[in-house]
Structures are given as C-alpha cells and as structure tokens.
C-alpha cells in the first residue's frame, strides 16, 4: 500500500484514520398517553474501535446488532448520545477539531439498497455530480468529474451517464452509488451491506471493483456485512458485534482461525461449509438474540452461551487479550470472562 503520496494525511502513517471511543446511542421508546419514555433500545453501547490507514475493517454480526446504526452514527446521520470520533487525529464535531461537514467530505457511505439510494428523477451523471456541485464545483467540471468516475467504476459514460436509475440493473446501480460516494474524494468509505443485495456473480465483480478503487484512490474501507465469507475475503481486520457491543476484534486470520468468543464461534458455526472435515462439533446457536430494550446484565451473550456462569451476569466483560496468553500483542481482543469458554472445541 502506497501511503506516502496522500497530501491529506495529517496525523502521519501511525495515526489511525478513524478512532472511535465509547460510541453510544440509546433510542427512547415512547408510549402511554403523554408519550413518556417507557424504555430504551440500547442500539449501540460503548463501542470502541480504530481503523488504520489503508486497511479494510470488516464489521460482522447478525441483524439488529447495531452495525448499521454504528455506520449512521459515524456519518452523523444520527446524533450519538456519547462517545468521541477522531478522524486522522482531529476530533469530529469538536471546536478545535474537524467540523461534521468537513468530516463528511472525507468519509462517505454506500447503502445496501441500490435503488432507493439514487434519486429516481436524476440521471446517473446528475446523481454523481450532485455532491461536488453542492460543494461549489461549477456544473461543467462536476459533470466531467462524474463521467470520469462512471468510467472508473466500469460504466461507459456515453452509455450510462444520461440514464435514470430504473433503467439500470442492481449491480450497475451499485457501481453508480460507489462512484457517487467517491465524488467528494473521500478517504474513508463505509460500505453498509453494499454488496449484500446483489447476485453472487455480480457481488464478486463489485468486490473486485472495490479492491481496485481502494488501491487507486488510496481508500480505507469500513465494510459492514453479515456475510462471513465476504468479510473474510475483503477484510484486514474484523470486528464482531453482538447486541450493540463489540465482542471480539482482531486480524482476520486470527479471528477466522481461532475465534475466542463463544458468540464468534457460534456465528462461524452457522457459516455453511463444503468441507466435511471442517464440520463443527459445537452446538449451533439457538433462539433469537434477546430484546435490545432489556438486554441481559453483564455479558449480553450469556443467555445463549453454553459456558455462562455467575460472573457473566454480574460484570460486563472488558475487551482484553485472549486469556490463554497466546496473543499479547493487543491486536486480538475478546470480551469474555472465562478462559475455558475461549477455547476452540472443534477438531
């Protein structure tokens, strides 16, 4: 990865591009006659992580675990209740740091639904050129940048620039969405289930395109997905979320080879495999995740965990190095109290 050429780099190569500290969002549930707050949905609860320059951080977890809320909190589409976001050394939204608007120029997002994320009344070129124009680029330059970007994502502008969203296929539309996200020349792109709705063959094409663009534009990706195979393919590091909290994080090889948290292992056990030698011996996960309105005390996974003990209900397990001492580098972190629960059982 060529990290020297980017003049926008402020914090130096060792400074993570994105630092998230104790990000929290609780949605009030209102009810009753006067609309009093009767409960809270703890959608994202004290989530901390970092994204290094030029890497791809994969975020996995089942639906409702707070992946997308985290993405929207980072983009400030939703205001967080608490927590700090530091972009390349500059605290976002801080008086002395980076304004939310300035942050949004450097951080962009691709949504899952390729159709609803394009204005049905705008042509492809207009959609891609829109954000640069709103930031003051003259119409003509914005248009030529849009055509350029359409070519970069593999769509001939002569053929597609003047088309409307309903005239394109899902894969083509998602390419346009990628081009639109790149129009402001961001450094970090959040891909929120960006390829999940596509056919497998199209998905592979778009993933390859994303990899190419990453190298070409010196991008950093935050790749949110529920598809474990795809995350393994694209990510450098992985973050596993459960019910609004981070349960495990580490390099992709470490997590996929030796998952420590019982939830991560259960998640991987649900992953379909074609290899009869790799059948998991562990019990598959049963039941639905608990209601985030009243999450279990202590470790949120304890209600579905085969290893749960008294301590799990009392203390929230901190993210720490695995208890077997195999990895003390701090790269691999797991939120579990119990040493024996962190051992991989399958052969």
């Amino acid at each position: 990865m060529n990290m020297t050429a980017d003049p926008r780099d402020r914090g130096g190569p060792a400074q993570p591009l994105l630092l998230v500290n104790d990000l929290r969002k609780h949605f009030p549930v209102r009810g009753g006659l006067l609309g009093r707050q009767i409960a809270t949905v703890q959608a994202v609860d004290d989530v901390s992580f970092s994204v290094r320059k030029g890497e791809t951080l994969g975020i996995v977890g089942e639906s409702g675990c707070g992946k997308s809320t985290t993405a929207r909190l980072l983009m400030r589409l939703i205001e967080p209740d608490a927590g700090d976001v530091v972009f390349d050394g500059d605290p976002v939204g801080d008086r002395h740091g980076l304004s939310v608007n300035a942050m949004r120029r450097q951080m962009q997002m691709v949504f899952q639904d390729s159709y609803s994320s394009l204005n049905p009344r705008m042509t492809m070129a207009e959609s891609v050129a829109y954000a640069p124009r709103m930031h003051g680029l003259p119409a003509k330059e914005a248009l030529s940048r849009a055509e350029d970007l359409l070519a970069q994502v593999g769509l001939n502008p002569r053929q597609y620039a003047r088309r409307y969203p309903h005239e394109l296929s899902g894969g083509q539309r998602q390419r346009v969405n990628v081009a639109r996200a790149l129009a402001l020349e961001p450094r970090l792109v959040i891909l929120d289930e960006a390829v999940s709705a596509l056919d497998k063959s199209i998905e592979a094409q778009v993933l390859n395109l994303l990899a190419e663009l990453k190298a070409r534009f010196n991008l950093t990706y935050l790749f949110i997905s529920h598809d474990l195979n795809v995350v393994e393919y694209v990510s450098d590091r992985v973050l596993v979320m459960y019910l609004g909290r981070v349960v495990e994080t580490g390099p992709v090889e470490a997590i996929y080879a030796r998952p420590r948290h019982p939830y991560t292992r259960a998640l991987f056990a649900s992953k379909p495999t074609l290899d009869p030698d790799r059948r998991t011996k562990e019990m598959p996960l049963t039941g639905d995740p608990p209601n985030p309105i009243n999450p279990p005390s202590g470790c949120r996974f304890r209600t579905r965990c085969a290893f749960a003990q008294a301590i799990c209900a009392e203390l929230v397990p901190p993210l720490a190095a695995p208890l077997d001492g195999a990895d003390d580098s701090g790269a691999h972190l797991v939120a579990c109290h119990l040493p024996h629960a962190q051992q991989v059982l399958h052969a």
Partner: protein
Amino acid sequence: MSQATAELVRRELGPVEITPIAAAPGYWKAVGQRLMRDPVTIAVTVILLGIIFISIAAPLVAGADPYAGSVLARLKPIGTPGHWLGTDETGRDLWARLCYGGRLSLLAGILPVSISLVVGGFLGILAGYAGGLVGTLIMRTMDVFYAFPSILLAIAICGLLGNGLSNSVIALSVVFIPPMVRISETVTTQARHLDFVEAARASGTTTMQIIRHHVLANVLGPILVYATSLISVSIILSAGLSFLGLGVTPPQAEWGLMLNSLRQAIYVQPYVAALPGVMIFITSMCFNLMSDGFRSAMDVRLNK
C-alpha cells in the same frame, strides 16, 4: 465527454466502441415530449385553455350584456335566434352569462387551491421534514380543523367575514389547507427516509438544498395531482356558498349561482338549466384528466 475521460474509458473498458445513445433531453424537455404523445392530455388542456380564454375575453365573445334581462325573453330554449344557448329565468342571455360566469367560477376554483397549495404545501413539507415538536404542533393544529365538516367550516368563516368573493376565497383556502398539509406531510415523511436523501445529507448537502432538489421534486407530483382534483371541489363549494348568500351575490354571473337559480326552471327548460352544471362538469373533468396526464408525464419511471 472530455478527452481524458475518453482515454480512461478506452483503458478501462477496452476498445469496444459503443454508439452513444441519442443525446437525452433535459428533464422538462423529456416531460414535454411525453406529453406530446398523450392525446387525451393535449385535448383536455386545449379545452381548458379555451374555457380560460373565453372567460378572459368575455366582453368580446359574449355578444350580449349578461345583466340585461327581458321579461318577454324568459326561459327561451337552446337555439333561439339571438340567444343561441337560450335565456335564464329573467331573460338574460345564457351564453353571455356563461362566458362572464367562467371568470368568477375559475377564480373561485383556482385561487383557493393555489393559496392552500402554497401555504399547506409549505407547512406540510416543514412538518414532514422537521418532524418532532414542530411536526406534531402543525399536524395537531390541522386535526382541529379536520374536526369540522369542510362546508360547515367554510360557512362559519364566511359568516364571520361577511359575504363577497374575496371572503369566500379566504374561507375555502382555510378549508383546503388541512388536507393539503396532510398529503404533503405524508409524502415528505416517506421521501425523507429514502436512502438517497440520507446519502445527500451524508455528503454535507444543506437542508434547504435537499428539500429543493430531492424532496420537492418527488413530493410535488402527488401534491399537484391532489390540488388539481380540489379545483372542481372548490368550484362546487363556492357555488354552494353563493347559494347561501355568503359568496358571490346576484346578479353577478357565476356558474354555481346560475345552476342554483335555474334549478326552479328544470321542468320548463331542462337543457338550459343544465348548462352551468355541464360547464362545471367539463371544467373539473378537464382539470382532473390534465393533472393525471401531467403526473404520468413527470414520472420518469412510467415510460421512456
């Protein structure tokens, strides 16, 4: 396409030359082209323009004084020499009265709807986009107005302000604002949560820009269609107010008022008595069909 982009396309997509699709027109030009292929919409638009022209040019085309009656020429049938559409119960020329009546009827139909479109549309988009306390405040206030039947509300306001055309316009505007607010609030709320609005927000677009470029374009269609359908209601309601002596006052010519006063002659000259009603029917039909045609033409998804 710039030279650099063309170069990029060659490099990225190979030497395959794709014939460029015909330079697509801009949005409004495309809307115009689609309209041109819709004979019904063209026809009703021409009819409406004709009615509007005749109303404006009434002194030139009427050929008779709409207020000069004659006891001898009362309730003549259609086709009477000198009165080709017959005369009303005081012997006034019906063609002349229909021409002059169009002025007030169209005004009473279009003006309240336009006022409520602007005010109600603004409040609705504000309520839908802002949500929260502002939205609740606006919508609950509208609910209070909803509690009254529309004609009763109009009568109450007219009674308060006194009679006259301007007061009935005000009364009808107030009556039409709540449904307009409700429609625009609903479509705005729907549009606000679409991903492309979120994406625009995420790229630092200001709220006003988002409303102008993304919300309005997608919200205006349904609101306009609803507004045009209200024009016919407005014509009929204002006729009702005139009948009660609250709107336009006799001897002024207005279709609703004419229909009401010719009502008694329905057994003597049924065809003449029906004419003002026919005009109201044709006008409101044309407005409805035209709005429908425009909606289809403005929808890029329906046809190419």
